[in-house]
């Protein structure tokens, strides 16, 4: 399980949150909500190890999170290379040998587009390609920043299935969102903007 105690983080000169504590059990999910600029993305990057906490501790199963295997992180940007085909874009993510690239593409309904250069994909299809990396990741912790950005209703359902499978296997999902997500039983952490 993931436990955060007394987290505080700066973004530039501004303190975005402090004294933030939460715990997510294995198989659990946490929804980060709050207005723009309330620190959702900052918190996700901090959990991924891309940012730095000014104060507080992050524990994974009682040990520091930094010593746990890296999390699977989906940011605002899709990290899709336009010059490579959809399948080639997943090749680096598939190095762990967990699942196959055609399987991951099929899980997001991208099977027929495998050999298409990614520059021809629509914004929603690129987002699905970025989500397909999660299927290939062995990480128990998924950190998703607005995962449904640009997705159609059918793709949101596919994502719901992926999230449910991951949680059934004991995985943890933490996601920032403004839209309703198919995450039954998820707890909500509301981040508020605090002046000063």
């Amino acid at each position: 399980m993931l436990r955060a105690e007394g987290l505080a983080a700066f973004r530039g000169e501004r303190l975005v949150f402090r004294d933030l504590s939460f715990a997510v059990p294995a198989g659990g999910a946490l929804l980060l909500t709050g207005p723009n600029g309330s620190g959702k993305s900052t918190l996700l990057r901090l959990l991924a190890g891309l940012g730095r906490a000014e104060a507080g501790a992050l524990l994974w199963d009682g040990a520091p999170l930094a010593e746990a295997p890296p999390a699977a992180y989906l940011g605002h940007l899709d990290a899709v290379k336009p010059g490579l085909s959809a399948a080639e874009n997943l090749r680096f993510a598939a190095r762990a040998g967990r699942g196959s690239i055609p399987g991951a593409l099929a899980a997001l309904g991208l099977g027929p587009l495998a050999d298409l250069p990614a520059r021809l994909l629509s914004a929603g299809q690129r987002r699905r390609l970025a989500l397909a990396r999660l299927v290939l990741s062995p990480a128990p912790l998924w950190l998703l920043d607005e995962p449904t950005l640009g997705l159609d209703a059918a793709s949101v359902l596919l994502l719901g299935g992926l999230l449910a499978t991951h949680r059934l296997g004991g995985g943890v999902v933490i996601t920032a969102t403004h839209l309703p997500l198919p995450l039954p039983g998820a707890e909500e952490l509301r981040l508020g903007w605090q002046p000063g």
């Binding site: 991924a48 890296p70 940007l77 990290a79 899709v80 090749r91």
Partner: protein, 221 residues
């Protein structure tokens, strides 16, 4: 190691797919060197004497060309975040980028230097010393360039800042490399200069990726 090779393979596939970008540095090298006979006249004595200097300076400038995009593209599309989360230390990612830069830029420059030296009427017996200096020299330039590219990442107008940062660091390489090529024509041994070049490479090999890794970490924070 497996991740390192996967990363290297990804870089090589990307540069193959963007072949025009990869060739640009080599074409710039050829064009820039060809300008010298036009500017200073085709006299073989003069050209043959200054050929190592021309080739070294042009190779140095050509190696700078692709550095701007070395991390820039990955930084802008979010790939750099994923690379840093691949479980590899940031220094290993920087080293893989430096190796990819050498394979796609340094090695073609090295291959192009010999015909250019012949074109500039360099005596054939003096060409091995030029290439022998360029081999460790281009490797060091790739490492220094990776360091510079990582440091200016995220800075406004980083592309302008980059040569200002890398060129002063590259001067020892240029001095020893050009001196190695020159001594042979004077009948002396190039060995001390080549050993000094190898020493610079040996120092840059661990230090540059470490510093570049720190730069990458700072850029994504």
């Amino acid at each position: 190691m497996k991740v390192f090779l996967a990363l290297l393979g990804r870089e090589l596939r990307l540069s193959l797919r963007h072949g025009a970008d990869t060739l640009a540095a080599l074409l710039f090298f050829f064009l820039a060197v060809s300008l010298f006979p036009l500017a200073i006249g085709p006299g073989p004595e003069m050209l043959g004497r200054i050929a190592p200097g021309i080739i070294w300076v042009c190779a140095l400038l050509a190696a700078l060309l692709p550095l701007d995009r070395l991390f820039g593209a990955d930084f802008e599309d979010g790939s750099l975040d994923l690379l840093l989360l691949s479980g590899q230390p940031a220094a290993a990612i920087a080293l893989a980028k430096a190796v990819a830069h050498w394979l796609t830029t340094g090695l073609p420059l090295l291959a192009g230097a010999a015909p250019l030296a012949v074109m500039l009427r360099r005596p054939p017996e003096a060409i091995p010393a030029l290439l022998g200096g360029l081999l460790p020299g281009t490797m060091t330039l790739s490492l220094l360039g990776t360091l510079g590219a990582a440091i200016v990442l995220g800075a406004r107008r980083g592309g302008v800042l980059l040569p200002l940062l890398v060129l002063p660091l590259a001067t020892p390489v240029l001095i020893f490399g050009a001196a190695a090529a020159d001594t042979v024509a004077g009948g002396l041994s190039a060995r001390p200069h080549l050993l000094l070049l190898a020493a610079v490479l040996a120092a840059a090999l661990p230090l540059c990726p470490l510093a570049a890794g720190a730069g990458l970490r700072a850029a994504v924070e």
